[in-house]
């Protein structure tokens, strides 16, 4: 999707295990975002980044951490996965904050 790739596309993991999702972009955009999408809740922001090593929390950041060591990669880590973190996770990129986002295809994560 327009130079943004998420991996893996699907993952099943056990409760209590760490999980890392990757977002990779080839657009050289400054801003990157992680959202989760659940029925009835729409898209909720987990964390975002406004530059290399510059990140901030979103509205549902508890239980998640992120890292951005280079422009093209934004990693989302669940330190100890819980069943409530079963969701579809979307990464998005933006050239300038507040402008339109381009979304990746999503990662479906199931915590059992």
């Amino acid at each position: 999707d327009a130079g943004i790739t998420q991996s893996p596309r699907h993952k099943v993991t056990e409760t209590g295990t760490p999980v890392t999702l990757r977002c990779h972009q080839t657009e050289n955009h400054r801003y990157m975002y992680w959202y989760r999408q659940d029925p009835g809740h729409g898209l909720r922001l987990i964390h975002y980044s406004y530059g290399v090593k510059d990140t901030d929390k979103g509205e549902v950041s508890d239980g998640y951490s992120v890292s951005r060591s280079k422009t093209e990669d934004f990693l989302l880590t669940l330190e100890s996965a819980t069943s409530s973190q079963t969701s579809v996770y979307f990464c998005a990129i933006s050239e300038a904050g507040g402008n339109g986002y381009t979304f990746g295809s999503g990662t479906r994560l199931t915590v059992v």
Binding site: D1, Y33, Q37, P39, G40, H41, G42, L43, L45, Y48, Y50, G58, V88, F90, A96, G97, G98, N99, G100, Y101, T102, F103, G104, S105, G106, R108
Partner: protein
């Protein structure tokens, strides 16, 4: 694909008719608005945007109308086709370097 349409309001239209999808936004200071389309199992895709200094903007078969007085945004789809069946989200933004706020979405179902 992911059942993101669960618990969302649904608009059902006949193929060939025009569709109007409405959205009430929350921040009277928002100055940029976007409509996204999300098909089952995919990430949201940009449809059309509008800045607050405009009331109307047209794209290919789609028109966005903005009424700032009542904080209302609408998406009109002309000659609705089966491929238009999806969940539609509005999003709003205020100021540079801020983050988009997404509505919960509306499911559009096109009857053949």
């Amino acid at each position: 694909g992911e059942s993101v349409g669960l618990h969302l309001p649904t608009l059902s239209v006949q193929e060939g008719d025009n569709s109007i999808i409405n959205c009430a936004y929350s921040n009277s200071a928002s100055d940029y608005f976007i409509w996204y389309k999300q098909e089952s199992g995919k990430g949201p895709q940009f449809i059309i945007d509008i800045r607050s200094n405009m009331d109307k903007r047209q794209g290919q078969r789609v028109t966005v109308l903005l009424n700032k007085t009542v904080k209302h945004l609408s998406l009109q789809i002309a000659a609705t086709q089966p491929g238009d069946s999806a969940v539609y989200f509005c999003a709003e933004n205020y100021g540079a370097n801020s983050k988009l706020t997404f509505g919960k979405g509306i499911t559009l179902s096109v009857r053949p």
